[in-house]
């Protein structure tokens, strides 16, 4: 007779996702093992992080402990923990508390500020939850009541750091806040209705993947509009101005991601330098086919001869694979400097976007508001800062979506934060435009003196 959890498969998946795509191993089950604190402790102590799950008729209540289960007669101070409830309609809510778990006369008790916040009495299949916890979890009716079952799981796959709990409980909330902010964004002084962001970088650095990832975040599933993958030459040979809809057939978002042919270290290969000037001015139409040795000219039938502000690029993002920065060739660095010179001559605002960041969990501080010093002081960041003269706050790090869509709200936060920073940078550019530059502009008005 196998011992299995009472969780349905879907409930298990919800909990695994809530805890950050972890594995759960059942250690104790009250209906199989004795309903006693002793039996519970025998099976659950020294097992690492655990969740204790309590089953009622229409909902599940649980407590996550980052440290070890307490032992008889001992207490562990300032244990990080959070509580969650899962209703029949699959909504989940969480509440964070620092607690001190204790075993006192056959009860498992969680103390917070000397109050018993959560108490479990296995012998009586009874649970007590403090009113201050009942309300945030939406379970006011479960003040002091009998439960149907209690199970304890070991939680595997957690990074061992103290900010784990705050991150895990705050990330979905912050992600949704960013989504709302970006949906509601309007460019500085309403000068344009959409911000054009240009993605520039070597072949294979993740430019098209970044567009796909941004679209995936807003659509809620993997998207593949831009072809990606590897081949000897750049797949992207067309200039693309990607507009993104908010959800399927929804309204357009207030930014456009412009994807180009990749930069190549060889002379006469990859994106042509003169094409960059034309792109920045807004003269290159969507779907223009680049030629490495032949820039677009005003005689091309679809050349935009009188671009207005809305056609121009408002922010340039240099896209690089963070893992390739240390091996950038002298020729590629020189090419970046050429590009940068053109971009600066046009007064463009710019950011660097570093992709394929493996340890992306560590990019942001636990409140997601700023990047971590340990990440921003990496040698790769220093090199980019020196090479491109970009302030560190505009050197952004993301991990694009890859094998099998497993929605990760932290990846979303990184992608959306990077996008927000690009929009803020574009606002700086718009704010810095000379007075009167609205509507149609003669190219000469903004063409740099050579």
């Amino acid at each position: 007779m196998a011992v299995t959890t009472r969780l349905t498969w879907n409930e298990e998946k919800i909990l695994q996702k809530l805890l950050g795509n972890v594995s759960l191993s059942l250690l104790y089950k009250s209906s199989v093992h004795e309903c006693s604190i002793g039996e519970m402790l025998d099976k659950c102590n020294h097992q690492g992080p655990t969740i204790t799950v309590i089953y009622f008729h229409n909902c599940i209540v649980g407590a996550f402990l980052l440290g070890d289960y307490p032992q008889q007669g001992e207490s562990y101070r300032n244990q990080n923990s959070f509580y969650f409830s899962l209703k029949t309609n699959k909504t989940e809510t969480t509440e964070i508390l620092n607690v001190e778990p204790r075993i006192i006369s056959k009860k498992l008790e969680f103390y917070s500020s000397n109050d018993i916040i959560f108490s479990l009495i296995p012998q009586e299949s009874k649970i007590f939850i403090h009113p201050s916890l009942l309300t945030p979890l939406g379970i006011k009716h479960l003040y002091s009541t009998n439960y149907l079952e209690c199970e304890v799981f070991r939680v595997e796959g957690i990074k061992d750091d103290k900010s784990y709990i705050r991150r895990i409980t705050g990330v979905a909330q912050y992600r949704n806040k960013l989504l709302s902010e970006l949906r509601a964004y309007t460019p500085c002084a309403d000068l344009v209705s959409k911000i054009n962001i240009l993605l520039l970088g070597p072949v294979g650095s993740g430019k098209s993947s970044f567009f796909n990832s941004v679209k995936s975040v807003f659509q809620g599933h993997v998207t593949r509009q831009a072809a990606v993958g590897s081949d000897v030459t750049s797949i992207t040979e067309l200039y693309r101005m990607y507009s993104i809809q908010d959800e399927k057939d929804g309204k357009s978002l207030p930014f456009i991601l412009c994807d180009t042919m990749g930069l190549d270290e060889k002379e006469g290969a990859g994106l042509c330098m003169d094409d960059i000037s034309h792109i920045l001015e807004g003269c290159v139409p969507d779907r223009y086919h680049f030629r490495p040795q032949q820039p677009i000219t005003s005689r091309h039938p679809t050349f935009i001869t009188s671009p207005s502000l809305k056609d121009r690029i408002h922010c340039v993002a240099y896209v690089l694979d963070i893992n390739c920065i240390d091996s950038l060739s002298f020729e590629m660095v020189a090419k970046f400097k050429q590009v940068q010179k053109i971009v600066l001559n046009y007064g463009e605002s710019h950011v660097a976007l570093l992709t394929k960041v493996k340890n992306y969990h560590g990019v942001l501080q636990e409140d997601f508001l700023n990047m971590n010093n340990t990440m921003t002081s990496q040698s790769q960041i220093m090199k980019i800062q020196a090479m491109l003269k970009i302030p560190i706050s505009n050197i952004l790090m993301v991990e694009n979506y890859a094998p099998e869509w497993e929605q990760d709200p932290l990846k979303d936060v990184l992608i959306l934060s990077a996008l927000r920073q690009m929009l803020r940078t574009a606002d700086d550019y718009l704010d810095d435009l000379p007075p009167g530059i609205t509507g149609s502009i003669r190219p000469q008005a903004l063409r740099p003196t050579l």
Partner: protein
């Protein structure tokens, strides 16, 4: 605190296949203490358990199939790894209490945790090819609870997921209502499973396994015709919002002519057109579609590969596949594409229980990596499917894999439609 097992992925997989279950680690001597009490406290009344011993040069142990109070005498399976092969030896039946409370008996198998020693009969040691001594010192001991890979609640979850996928596909509406049905082109080497995939998808909606598209049992390939299969929901139901287009297979020698691909993508090739490997279709052909509508075009391409054949693709075939992919990317607007990996079930170590979490299986990940490196496809575009071959009736686990891939293709086709410029939609 390290509660991760020492078993390698392969060792764990071999053991899972041996006892037909998956494992939850309950006790680890180096964490919980080398004492009998510590083991008993954690492992008593946990159902079937697996005990694994690590000595300096061997991994071996015992599987106790039942661990509850109703049965009193049980047989126990001893095992040992010889490289990646498992040797086994059954002992007993013996009183269950001997295993539960003493973990063995002196004559055949006994563990002394405090001394870190295992004692076995010489006969057993010989069968398991362990040392020449009756007593073996060990470094670590782990005990796992064994659970069914496919228990009732998991199958209920699969059934629920299958129902939800079916519903979302039946009611799927192409982006901007530009077409009624999305056209998905299946491209790949002969024998990769293109026609089988169509058959498998149709089977799901029919309710039992069907074989409308003939499948080649020989390698010359039967599919020389271009087929555009529309599928009904049920036997006489409405048409589903997609059409699967099956083409001649790619081959080093004869196979689909590369120059035919742009014509297929643009919608010029009629249903049942007979391909000629030497000569592409021309506008002069009697059934050539001169002015294809948007709904005649291909909206998504699925490259189909047999997972077991990736390693044996010749240089010529690799070059041909890459060329086909470039055609797809650069043809006009550029059609969105994915990869379907078939025959994953027949890969070494893979069992039906793995299909539920197939993307977490290491051999499958390695295959995806291989496709990515060899052929250049993005990892995120490589999907796994499981075609029906010898079955008569549907398997919900296979259906979930196939329907999930199908939904990805519909989303990909939407990406294509969303990307169309206005002049192409009129």
């Amino acid at each position: 605190r390290n509660m991760a097992t020492r078993l390698t992925w392969i060792q764990e997989k071999k053991l899972q296949n041996l006892v037909k279950g998956k494992f939850s680690l309950l006790y680890r001597a180096s964490v919980h203490g080398f004492t009998n009490n510590s083991l008993i406290w954690r492992c008593c009344n946990q159902g079937p358990t697996l005990l694994v011993i690590y000595s300096s040069d061997h991994v071996f142990g015992s599987y106790i199939p039942q661990n509850d109070k109703n049965k009193t005498r049980v047989s126990c399976l001893l095992f040992a790894f010889e490289e990646t092969k498992i040797l086994r030896c059954e002992i007993g039946p013996h009183d269950l209490n001997d295993y539960v409370y003493h973990y063995g008996n002196k004559e055949e198998f006994q563990i002394d945790l405090s001394e870190k020693k295992v004692t076995m009969s010489l006969d057993t040691i010989k069968k398991l090819k362990l040392s020449q001594h009756q007593t073996i010192s060990f470094e670590e001991c782990e005990v796992f609870r064994c659970e069914d890979l496919l228990d009732t609640r998991k199958m209920e979850g699969v059934a629920e997921l299958r129902g939800s996928l079916l519903s979302s596909i039946r009611t799927y509406k192409p982006s901007r209502d530009l077409v009624n049905q999305m056209r998905i082109l299946l491209l790949g080497p002969i024998g990769a499973g293109k026609s089988s995939f169509f058959n498998s998808v149709k089977s799901v909606f029919r309710g039992h396994v069907t074989h409308q598209a003939l499948v080649s049992s020989d390698r010359t390939g039967i599919s020389e015709q271009y087929r555009t299969y529309s599928i009904k929901d049920g036997k006489d139901g409405n048409s589903l919002p997609f059409i699967l287009c099956d083409s001649m297979g790619l081959s080093e020698e004869k196979g689909l002519c590369m120059d035919d691909i742009p014509y297929i993508l643009k919608g010029h090739v009629p249903d049942r057109y007979q391909f000629n490997f030497m000569k592409p279709i021309t506008p002069g052909h009697s059934n050539y579609i001169d002015f294809p509508l948007l709904e005649d075009r291909i909206h998504c391409v699925a490259f189909v590969f047999d997972a077991n054949s990736i390693g044996q693709l010749s240089d010529e075939m690799v070059a041909k596949i890459k060329k086909a992919r470039r055609e797809v990317i650069k043809c006009g607007i550029g059609v969105v594409h994915v990869v379907l990996l078939t025959c994953v079930d027949s890969m070494d170590l893979i069992t039906k229980g793995d299909l539920i979490d197939i993307y977490k299986c290491m051999p499958v990940k390695l295959k995806q990596e291989e496709v990515h490196k060899k052929l250049g496809f993005a990892l995120s575009d490589i999907l796994v499917v499981s075609n029906y071959t010898s079955e008569w009736n549907l398997d919900p686990i296979k259906d979930v894999l196939n329907l999930s891939a199908l939904r990805q293709m519909l989303w990909a086709a939407d990406d294509f439609l969303e990307d169309l410029p206005l002049e192409e939609t009129g």
